[in-house]
């Protein structure tokens, strides 16, 4: 038949043509009427409906699967980047920190004698500190 339904008409019918509010009722009626009398188009419409059910299922079965997966990857990347950043900053801060000074007699006052004593205690763990 020369005026057989086109692919876009079939697609329109199974989407907009079956929606609760059909804006182009004449078009829907014309498609239905044609499919009722044309076996080829009826078969094509049935195939389009089957495809639409699969598309519908693909869209609704896991509505958030892809964004969620992408979000999970982004989250993991952000976490790794955060850890690397924290380690880097930690090392940088530790590297910039001046080594504990060895208490000298000039520094020592009766008030901070205790602090000087702690620094000296620290030197026991690191024999290089305070030596040239």
């Amino acid at each position: 038949m020369s005026d057989c339904l086109t692919a876009s008409e079939l697609a329109w019918y199974v989407t907009d043509g079956l929606s609760p509010v059909v804006c182009d009722l004449e078009r829907a009626d014309r498609i239905e009427a044609h499919a009722a009398g044309c076996a080829d188009c009826a078969g094509a419409l049935a195939a389009e409906a089957r495809a639409e059910l699969v598309i519908d299922a693909a869209a609704t079965a896991e509505p958030l699967a892809l964004p969620r997966r992408r979000a999970a990857w982004l989250g993991a990347l952000a976490a790794v980047a955060g850890i690397v950043l924290v380690v880097f900053i930690g090392r940088a801060v530790a590297g910039d920190r001046p080594p504990p000074r060895t208490a000298t007699a000039a520094d020592s006052t009766p008030a901070d004698a205790g602090i000087g004593a702690l620094a000296v205690d620290g030197d026991i763990l690191d024999p290089d500190v305070g030596t040239n």
Binding site: V21, V22, A65
Partner: protein, 198 residues
Amino acid sequence: MTRTLTLPLRLAEATDGADAEPAPLEERALAGDAAAWEALFRRYNRRVVLVLLARGVRADVARDLAQEAWTRLIEKQRRDQLRLLRLPALAIRQALFLAADRARRGDVRYEHVALSDDAAALLDLEKQLADRSRLARARAVLATCSDSQQRVFRAIYARPGATAAEVAVEVGLSVQRVRQIMCEVRKKLRAVVEDVDV
């Protein structure tokens, strides 16, 4: 000219309880809430019609059968014969039952009706397997679409019954752009779920 789908039955007014936490539509429908039935009908009727069309029922007859199926469900609820409302499965089953019944009377061409139970079961199983494979292909294609395409596509399909205009407002695009995106995405998907007859 516009056709707006409404339930064929005149329903009772919605039950009270406006200030209570809104219950799921199915629960409200089971309690006789007319608005809930209307919302469920608008949400799922297209799926019911699609299943009938997919089985070879004529389009105009499929729409009539779907409406009749909803009417039967509401009547059952009114007679207190519905304990559980699992939709759209229940409406689809009811519509298929009506189609099979009409086919037995010779009113409807219904391609599976003439098969024996075993053959029908086998056919259904093969169809399910084919559908599963097509579903996987469709998902793979969907994953290749841009974020905005996916957003529009999911917004349309996640809310059955929503119009393109409503979705356009939701995603902040023009109606024309939403329609264009839907057309592009559906074209891609349609190509990979090309029917595999079993």
